[in-house]
């Protein structure tokens, strides 16, 4: 894992979690993760999709460059598209979220491509992921596993906190 280079930014990276849709903002909120889930799909599926709504509440763009999880051998940012009736998919090297922008990872669009699961996951498992930024910050987010593959109708928020060398600044709010 990369060492955080900007402790100040880390202090501001957010973190929100709520099973009841309540989101408490950290002192200097920067990124907000909501509706984070893993669509497990069929039990025999060897590839899963991760979805989340990510809001950048900072005055500067934030680029997510890598996502990892101990639960999967490979995690990649992917974009699925359907053009002229043809479905295709490609990997994104980074995902830039503009200042004040919200980007939704959702079916038939941006998603986390979750490959080589290391254990059998079941509904309601909470799975940890680390999102890395271009500035080497690391944000830990938990995704809620579900068998459903469709669009989220709820507002179940993700569970995130930031990591790094600044122990004592990580937050988990409910």
């Amino acid at each position: 894992m990369k060492a955080p280079s900007q402790v100040g930014l880390l202090c501001g990276l957010l973190v929100s979690f709520s099973a009841t849709s309540q989101v408490t903002h950290a002192e200097a909120l920067k990124l907000k993760f909501e509706n984070c889930r893993i669509a497990l799909g069929p039990k025999v599926a060897k590839v899963h999709a991760g979805y989340c709504s990510i809001s950048n509440l900072s005055p500067d763009p934030v680029a997510l460059t890598e996502v990892t999880s101990a639960a999967y051998g490979r995690v990649e940012l992917h974009l699925s598209e359907i053009k002229n009736g043809i479905a295709s998919m490609r990997q994104l090297k980074k995902l830039v979220i503009g200042a004040g922008e919200t980007i939704a990872l959702k079916p038939e669009g941006l998603h986390l491509m979750l490959m080589q699961p290391k254990k059998v996951l079941k509904s309601d498992d909470m799975v940890s992921f680390e999102f890395m930024t271009a500035k080497d910050d690391v944000i830990s987010v938990k995704l809620h596993a579900t068998r459903k593959v469709g669009r989220s109708k709820g507002s179940h928020a993700g569970h995130a906190n930031h990591k790094g060398s600044h122990s004592g600044h990580s937050q988990t709010t409910q």
Binding site: R74, M89, L114
Partner: protein, 213 residues
């Protein structure tokens, strides 16, 4: 990179049919548009031989007797295929209020990535509906099916990355009549209620036409 077909649409112009389902008691304003690939007359499919999830042969004969909805995809598809299969389950649910159980279309998912699909495609589709049928087979036979249904498949980057390669495929849902002939292709996005009304209406029109002939 391997290309197995390019879409050969008889009527490639995507007709946009706004459904006026007054006869079915549905308010038109509530319906989404259904984009179609239409044919001037039902298209007879070329002969093909695949196998279902239990290893039994699946070919043209298995498409007879009932109407069929056919989707092509692959079991390592993380987003589009499972989402469409889930929508097809919803389409079937909607259709069940409009079509008698005996005439309810079967749903067939054709795995176009046989190296990975043959193993568990039967169990894969049962997640969405117990009656869904998953089939796959030899590459040459898949190619025949894709071509005869005016589909599209291209496997990209498999040599470079055997884990995360892309399988580009047509996301059109094909509607076949009870004689296994291709009647119409329904382009994505598949909105379940609109699609169900369209399918029910198409089946009804087809039955009326046959009755008058």
């Amino acid at each position: 990179m391997s290309v197995i077909s390019v879409p050969q649409m008889l009527t490639r112009v995507a007709a946009v049919a706004t459904l006026f389902a007054v006869t079915l008691g549905v308010q038109p304003a509530a319906l989404a548009e259904v984009k179609l690939r239409q044919y001037s007359k039902p298209k007879v499919l070329k002969s093909f031989k695949l196998q279902d999830g239990s290893g039994k042969p699946f070919g043209n004969a298995q498409l007879n007797g009932r109407w069929t909805l056919v989707l092509m995809g692959f079991t390592h598809c993380p987003a589009v295929c499972p989402f469409t299969l889930q929508n097809l389950a919803a389409v079937k649910q909607e259709l069940s209020t409009r079509v008698s159980p005996a005439k309810l279309p079967r749903v067939v998912f054709i795995g176009v990535d046989p190296d990975r699909d043959l193993e568990n495609i039967g169990e894969y589709v049962k997640h969405f509906d117990d009656d869904f049928i998953g089939v796959s087979g030899e590459w040459t036979e898949i190619k025949k099916v894709v071509e005869t249904m005016d589909g599209f498949v291209r496997i990209v980057g498999k040599e470079k990355d055997p884990v995360a390669y892309d399988v580009r495929h047509g996301a059109t849902v094909n509607l076949l009549d009870a004689e296994g002939r291709l009647v119409v292709g329904i382009y994505p996005p598949l909105e379940p209620k609109s699609a169900a009304i369209f399918i029910a209406e198409t089946m009804l029109k087809h039955a009326r036409k046959q009755a008058t002939n």
